[in-house]
Symmetry: none
Subunit: 300 residues, 2 copies
């Protein structure tokens, strides 16, 4: 149903019949929410996202807003501001009828932080990794030039300290802002951070040095503009190192999952068994079977 307003624009009320079933995902940071529900008899997804604050609206916003004081301390104060409605719209997307696929696409899984001791690794995680026999054939294909050979931008062929460097899939290479490369080692006996010992220091130092040199040469990006790190848990169990632009908040660069290569090197220099014995924290999604194993073991 449509209704008029003073300005002559047409307002509709399609959402007044919307019944929320469940929130699929929301982001407090991005100010959006993805909702699954029904409009009359049809499955629907509604996506709400607040709009960016535009500089050209500021004068009107400051003039015509209502402000309520929340807190005052020294030179700092906070308020709730109610701006004119037309300056504060919410972008709304409706998908109707929506299928099961749409629902899955937007459903976010909750994550839980697991604190894995060295013993947990050996009694829970390692048996899990072995039992799953995750295929890393696609990694071997790269190392053997059977796939993606043209994407490799650098190779050190040494079987012990060598690696290939290539752009991550997430990077389209069209701009340097979100630069993202991966170094994959030639050795096939290091599953993750957990396997690293001081004997691997020459490998790690080699990756850091030649990776940084190559990126500087190829893209004119200096080492001080790079974030170089490993993931734990990694998404595949063959040792690899991430190189991302420092100005780019790459997914997975949070402290709960990433380990700076420079820290890893220092920790192994001080204690070869650092990653053997230490508790390591990492997030797992609710639907991750490894999480179930930790639950079954009473470790969560």
């Amino acid at each position: 149903s449509a209704q008029g307003d003073g300005s002559g624009s047409a307002f509709v009320s399609v959402l007044s019949d919307f019944e929320t079933k469940t929130v699929l995902r929301d982001s407090a940071r991005e100010k959006n929410i993805f909702i699954h529900g029904k409009i009359v008899d049809q499955d629907a997804i509604v996506i709400l996202e607040k709009t960016p604050i535009r500089q050209d609206n500021l004068p009107e916003m400051f003039q015509d807003s209502r402000l309520k004081l929340e807190m005052k301390n020294d030179i700092y104060s906070t308020y709730q501001l109610q701006p004119p409605a037309h300056l504060n719209e919410i972008k709304t997307t409706v998908i109707c009828p929506a299928t099961e696929k749409h629902v899955k696409k937007y459903l976010r899984q909750e994550t839980f932080l697991v604190e894995e001791t060295g013993d947990d690794y050996r009694s829970i995680t390692l048996p899990y990794i072995s039992s799953q026999s995750f295929s890393v054939q696609w990694v071997y294909n790269i190392l053997e030039k059977k796939a993606e050979a043209d994407r490799i931008i650098f190779e050190d062929p040494d079987p012990n300290t060598g690696f290939v460097l290539l752009p991550d899939f997430k990077w389209d290479q069209k701009q340097l802002d979100d630069l993202y490369l991966i170094a994959i080692v030639h050795r096939r006996d290091i599953k993750s951070l957990r396997d690293l010992r001081s004997e691997h220091l020459p490998l790690l130092r080699n990756i850091r040095k030649k990776g940084e040199e190559t990126i500087q040469k190829q893209y004119s990006v200096r080492p001080c503009k790079l974030r170089v790190y490993l993931h734990y848990q990694p998404s595949y169990y063959h040792l690899h190192v991430h190189f991302t632009s420092l100005d780019y908040e790459a997914p997975g660069c949070g402290v709960e999952r990433a380990h700076l290569l420079s820290d890893v090197i220092q920790n192994l220099e001080a204690d070869s068994e650092y990653y053997h014995g230490r508790s390591l924290s990492f997030p797992l999604r609710a639907d991750d079977s490894l999480l179930l194993r930790f639950r079954e073991a009473g470790r969560l």
Copy 2:
């Protein structure tokens, strides 16, 4: 000046006198904007940030909003939605009078990764911190209950291992998605991570235990849903610990700046001098005077 409204809340109009000079930074992703300007004769910074969309407001929002159709294509349609004003406030922070330092803090700048050795800390960073005599008076105001006393949600008054826990400014406490609390220690002799030794382990363990317990009790958020960490460099040199929701990508939780409290505790358990001697990496903005010091020392 204050003015009444129907509901009896007090609205103020401090911003109607605000004159914008320049936009320091804005984020279309986070829907915020940082503005430098003047209130009457004083330099001021105004920060506007739209608020997260709350699930419990959805029924009222769907019922009482005005929707304008923008686009319709097959099962997809988009609208502009104007919700009731009280469901769509903008969080507003005013810093007045603001100094040159505040302006610099919020001005968007390129960042560079610095790798600070223990010696660099003592010869470059520490003299810099001392020479700047950064005021932490506002922290002492909190610890002495001269300000924000009503915001404290927990206190352990012990002078050695005690701390106060309160919501960070960035969290409006209306939803748990972006939960963000800060533990500020009562001791005034620990500037940062660099000062931590094994003697501080009881303090750190106490913060972790009672911080997590309080958050579980107060907000029903379990420890495995929290990211608990310190910043290095911190934004002020009085030891404090960040508690953020694991599902929330809080600003500053990247591996290049954050240090998980659980890792800090383990590192000090293994080596009291860990943070005294180790190289620590952190990003510095192009206009940070500390970066200049590192440049002058030939360390960048």
